[in-house]
C-alpha cells in the first residue's frame, strides 16, 4: 500500500478533492477524518467520482445508536459516505471513514466498499457500511469529498493510497 496524497485543511473548505490520480495501481483506498463546519444537525459527507453528476448507485446499512435502517440511491451525483454531525455535536471530534475502490483504472464499471462512523458523546452516533457502483467504464481519475449542506471544517483530513497486485513466486492461483 503506497500513499498517493494526503490533505489536511488549514481552514474550512467546500471540499477535499484528489485529482489527476495516477493510473499505475490496481486498487485505491481512501481514509478520511472530517467534520462539518455547519451549524445544522446531521449532514452527509458525499463522494463524487470524476466530477460526474449522475451514475452513482449505492446501498447503505446504518445504525443510529437507537435503531437500524437501510437506504438506496440510484443514478445520483454522489455516494453517501458519512453521516456527520455539525457544530452542535461534541467539539473536537471528527468522523472517520474509509473506502475501497478495486480495479479503479480498468474498463469495467467501478465498485466501492466503505465504512464510516460518526463520533459524538451522545445517543445519536451513526455507524454505516456502504456499497457503491459507479456506472461508468471510465477510469477513476478524481475523487471529491464534500458535505451536502456545509463546508468541511478546519483540520479535517483525507489520505489516498494505492494498492498493487502481484505475485510472491510461491503462492499459486488457478
Amino acid at each position: 500500500m503506497q500513499l498517493i496524497e494526503s490533505k489536511t485543511l488549514g481552514s474550512a473548505q467546500a471540499s477535499i478533492e484528489f485529482t489527476n490520480i495516477p493510473q499505475t495501481f490496481t486498487d485505491l483506498y481512501l481514509v478520511t477524518s472530517v467534520r462539518s463546519a455547519g451549524a445544522s444537525s446531521t449532514d452527509n459527507v458525499r463522494i463524487q467520482i470524476n466530477g460526474a453528476t449522475s451514475g452513482h448507485n449505492s446501498r447503505v446499512l446504518y445504525g443510529t445508536g437507537s435503531g437500524v435502517g437501510s437506504t438506496s440511491d440510484s443514478n445520483t451525483s454522489n455516494f453517501p459516505f458519512i453521516y456527520s454531525g455539525g457544530t452542535n455535536f461534541t467539539s473536537n471530534t471528527f468522523n472517520n471513514a474509509s473506502a475501497y475502490f478495486p480495479n479503479y483504472s480498468g474498463s469495467t464499471t467501478k465498485s466501492m466498499s466503505s465504512d464510516s462512523v460518526m463520533e459524538n458523546n451522545g445517543t445519536e452516533a451513526f455507524q454505516s457500511i456502504q456499497a457503491g457502483l459507479f456506472n461508468s467504464t471510465d477510469a477513476i481519475s478524481s475523487i471529491k469529498i464534500y458535505f451536502a449542506a456545509a463546508n468541511i471544517a478546519q483540520y479535517s483530513s483525507a489520505s489516498l493510497y494505492g494498492i498493487t497486485k502481484g505475485s510472491d513466486g510461491t503462492t499459486t492461483v488457478s
Binding site: R59, I129, L133, D168
Partner: protein, 163 residues
Amino acid sequence: MPTPTYTPLANITLGSSASSVTFSNIPNTYRDLILITDIDITAQTNGYVMVRVNGDTGSNYTEVFMSSLGPTSQSNTRTFFYNDYGVDVTGRAIRIYQFMDYAVTDKHKTVLGRSSMGASANGAVTAAAFRWASTSAITSIAFTRNAGNFNSGSTFALYGVIA
C-alpha cells in the same frame, strides 16, 4: 521509508468464465491475509459464492452477518464461508475477506467478510464474521458457486500482512 503493508502474493483476472478459482501454496510467513475480489456473475436462482479453505467440505464454517437487504442479521453453520446475502445479483460486486492469524496452529481461524453490490436494484451491502473450526494453518482458499460460473473479467487478489 515506510514499508508497504499489503504484500502481493498472487492474483488472477479471468480471461474466460470459470467455475472455480483456487489459491494454493500460501506461505505461512505473514500474520494475516487480505483477499480482495471484484467478481462479475450472472445471477442464479438461490445462487451464491462459496469459499472454502484447505479443501474442507465439513460443517466447520460458522457465520454471523448483517445485511442492508431487510435489513437483517443472521447466524448459521455451513460447509463454506457465505458472504453473499443479497449480493448474488447480476453484475460486479466486491467481496473482501480478512483472515486473521491464518498460519497459527493454536486457535480456530477468524475471518471478517464484506460484500458490496451497489446496484440499487436488488443490490446489498453485507458485513460478516466467520470462524473456521480448525487449528490448521490455512494453505489454500477456493472460490466456487453453487450454480453458474464466475464471468470473464472477474478479479481475485491475495495479499499478506506482516505482523
